[in-house]
């Protein structure tokens, strides 16, 4: 029978996230994977700016805060200096898909041997719910109060599809965290990405679809249904690139 114990890679206290925030779940899944691989003393968490920076308070291990969007650049430096360590960045969509777009694309194109965990909640959570590059068409935010209009603001950015077109990345996948199946798959995907990194295969990218109950203006349970009907049809979960399978 399965049993579950809180991972030791997390501090024995609550996270700084709002009630029902799936960012906290993403952090916990990463901690679970690191515990299962027994890498607590070996992992380095490169934390970006935004809600994902709250990781710094709950992470029980080595971590470093990078400038806004520059986490892949910092991780590149750390991994090149300390090639034996397990290095990963944990970034939100405002950080990775907007200000840090150049860094992530360059790091992915160079095939740097670290893992990027991308938590996509389709809004700028920490600054008050402004429109992010990943905000869905018609989704309301504080800067698009009538819903996002593609005529003036363009279309939501699909990072997994973009990165999967590059030659160097070895594993690119997207998971939705609103159902137990999605969470279970995400846990396996994160573990696989870390294993590929430890084997020295190259760049791995995991996108986690999350929610933002506070800025979407819904209860936590309503956000799960909203993700089912709106987010998942646009950002389709799945494995976009896996060089081991494709050969």
């Amino acid at each position: 029978m399965p049993a579950y114990k809180r991972p030791s890679s997390l501090m024995p206290m609550t996270t700084g996230y709002c009630p029902g925030c799936l960012h906290a779940l993403g952090t916990r899944l990463v901690a679970d994977a690191i515990d299962e691989l027994n890498q607590q003393q070996n992992a380095i968490n490169v934390v970006s700016v935004g809600c994902s920076a709250l990781n710094l308070y709950s992470w029980n291990g080595d971590d470093i805060g990078a400038a806004h969007g520059r986490a892949p650049a910092v991780a590149t430096g750390i991994k090149r200096c300390l090639p034996d360590r397990l290095v990963f960045t944990y970034q939100g969509d405002g950080d990775l898909a907007a200000i840090g777009l150049a860094e992530i694309m360059s790091a992915a194109n160079r095939g740097e041997n670290f893992t990027v965990i991308f938590a996509n909640n389709q809004t700028y959570g920490m600054t008050g719910g402004q429109m992010a590059p990943t905000t869905l068409i018609g989704q309301k935010s504080t800067t698009t109060p009538f819903g996002r209009d593609p005529q003036t603001t363009g279309y939501p950015l699909k990072m997994c599809e973009l990165i999967a077109t590059l030659e160097a990345p070895v594993f690119v996948a997207r998971y939705a965290l609103n159902t137990p199946k999605g969470v279970s798959d995400a846990k396996k995907g994160i573990k696989k990405a870390f294993e590929l990194q430890l084997a020295g295969k190259g760049f791995t990218f995991i996108e986690l679809l999350t929610n933002c109950p506070t800025n979407w203006g819904m209860s936590p349970l309503q956000t799960l249904d909203y993700m089912d009907t709106n987010t998942i049809p646009y950002f389709k979960p799945g494995i976009y690139k896996d060089t081991e399978v494709q050969g």
Partner: protein, 68 residues
Amino acid sequence: MITINELMCKGCGYCVKYCPKHILEMGKERSQRGHFYPVNIDAEKCTSCAICALMCPEGAIEVAAKER
């Protein structure tokens, strides 16, 4: 058998929604932090599947393996 750490719980209700045996329920009392937290209303039916722990964002639920 599950253990819910009420001081870590923020009352999102994901565990109540996804419990396959429907034996979790939001309690009527608030924790010290001010959140309602789930209670196990029928511990005997628990199969230790750990789906509640899997869905808990805060890691507030720990599950012991079921004795056979």
